[in-house]
Amino acid sequence: MNDQIGALFVQVAYIGASAAFILGLRGLTKPGTARRGMQLAAFGMLLAIIGTLLNHEIITYEFIIIGLVVGTAIGLPMGLLVPMTAMPQRVAISHMFGALAVTLVGIAEFLHYRDIPGGPGAVKMVALGFETLFGALTITGSFMAFGKLQGILPGRPITFFGQKFVNAAIFFGAVALYVTLVVTQSGGATDAAADLGVPMFFAMTALALIIGITLVLPIGGADMPVVVSLLNSYAGLAASATGFAIGNNILIVAGALDGASGFILSILMSRAMNRSFANVLFGAFGGEKVAVAGKSAEGLTTRSVTPEEAAMRLGYARNVIIVPGYGMAVAQAQHAVRELAELIEHRGGRVRFAIHPVAGRMPGHMNVLLAEANVPYDHLFDLDEINGEFAACDVALVLGANDVTNPAAKSDPGSPIYGMPILNVADAEQVIVVKRGMATGFAGIENELFYLDKTSMLFGDAKSVLGQVVSEVKGL
């Protein structure tokens, strides 16, 4: 009887937690309700953990306590101290931790079922195999993404001869092992084929780990928003599969929410780069297009300006749109930008920020950096909201953004980025581009915007150059 009451309590806790997760995510649909929503979700998580600790299957608490203490000791400082500029890396590495937990659960459950007469059976094996396959490839994939974002690995795509063939062979090898496992594991540990179950399972896991590496290595830094979203989705699906494997509904619900979120973000990101979703799923990004060079810049000249001159134009402008990109994040120029924006507003001008969906290295990257620098979120505008406004603005200040402003995406069908939605910076009356040098963006193509008559280049590190502009505007 006591067991039954305990089980009932666990289920009630899980249902409460599921509701808290869904309502918490609904809070995220508005900036004003987001914080409370997430506090509700965290409460749901606490409820689920307490419910689980009361599970009658649990006979020893030492390992649980050690795990909780170690995890908190790593997680808490990470949560409190990671700077906002390092957010893409931190999200990538957290996908790795989530996938690691799921994969270990998958392996442990598989070994557990092997000891039970009858084995896991085909039904459980489908879920367990899926869980471990996706979990394992997410572990290494996320770690590679982390390495690229952190700068441990080169950000450029790493490719070698015959890569696609090798990748396909590994992928089909893993799938073949998965299918064989599902077919053979229904009869239990007694029959001959099933005796190979354990080595086959570990071989499949090893292949999945390799797939994670080969999937992310050929992908360049600017494609990271898609990769990070996709790995987010995989981690969620693996968690959901765990729920199927152990018959736990809250895992299914939470995993499905995470999977849906990552899936939606992947679609939004790939759409913002004009890639089909299939193209994203098969990891073919970054490969071909780098080789294709756009129009050459020969015979074209740019005009450069000094910070003093830029300050004159910005200081007397009535309507300014700032276009931040990855360069702003690298230079950590968000605080200098905010100061400049406040100065212009103080002088009576209007300042808005135009955020391209794939600006930076993860979805929403620019928004978080600008929020950190105290830029109010009602000054930040999406592509669709602001694109019509460039024609009416005096100065468009492009800050470390490149490909997302390239007019070739609209005008040149031969360009590798043709068809990609861009910010219509070229419509502005004049354009100031802050840039380190004339290097091309990730796509490896020239940006015609830089050679327009209305464009002035302000060369230098975004943070120090903007610092000079700010002090010049103050002196006006």
């Binding site: 995220l28 390992f63 599902v182 928004n367 978080v368």
Partner: protein
């Protein structure tokens, strides 16, 4: 959106087809075991799609951090493996899984809150 739902239904149908194949005599059938779970998955995925498509791009980074923290619910499965009556090495694997999932639960919710605290509106003119 429609594509997404169709994909989900297709995936569920594929799982159903796979799991519905004849298994060992006494093994539970699809109807006993998995159909309810497939319902749960589909409804949760559908709800997730409905809500998450309404999250503005402004909050996409906090959304990622938040869903990552939420999917660290695999902590509950890890806890059972770490504490249940299993061989020692399995309990140990469970402990590592508990640690990894706890990193995401604690770190994920803390960092999401840190980010959301920063998003502010323009202050009303004095």
């Amino acid at each position: 959106m429609t594509t997404a739902i169709l994909t989900a239904i297709g995936a569920a149908a594929a799982i159903a087809a796979l799991t519905g194949s004849p298994v060992a005599p006494d093994a539970p059938t699809l109807v006993d075991l998995q159909i309810v779970e497939i319902y749960v998955f589909l409804l949760a995925a559908f709800t997730g799609f409905q809500i998450i498509t309404k999250v503005p791009p402004l909050l996409h980074t906090p959304l990622m951090a938040a869903t990552n923290a939420i999917s660290a619910i695999s902590l509950v499965a890890s806890i059972v493996i770490a504490g249940a009556e299993r061989p020692l090495y399995i309990n140990f694997m469970g402990a590592v899984a508990v640690a990894a999932a706890t990193v995401n639960v604690v770190g994920g919710f803390v960092i999401t809150d840190r980010m959301l605290r920063m998003f502010k509106r323009t202050e009303a003119p004095k």
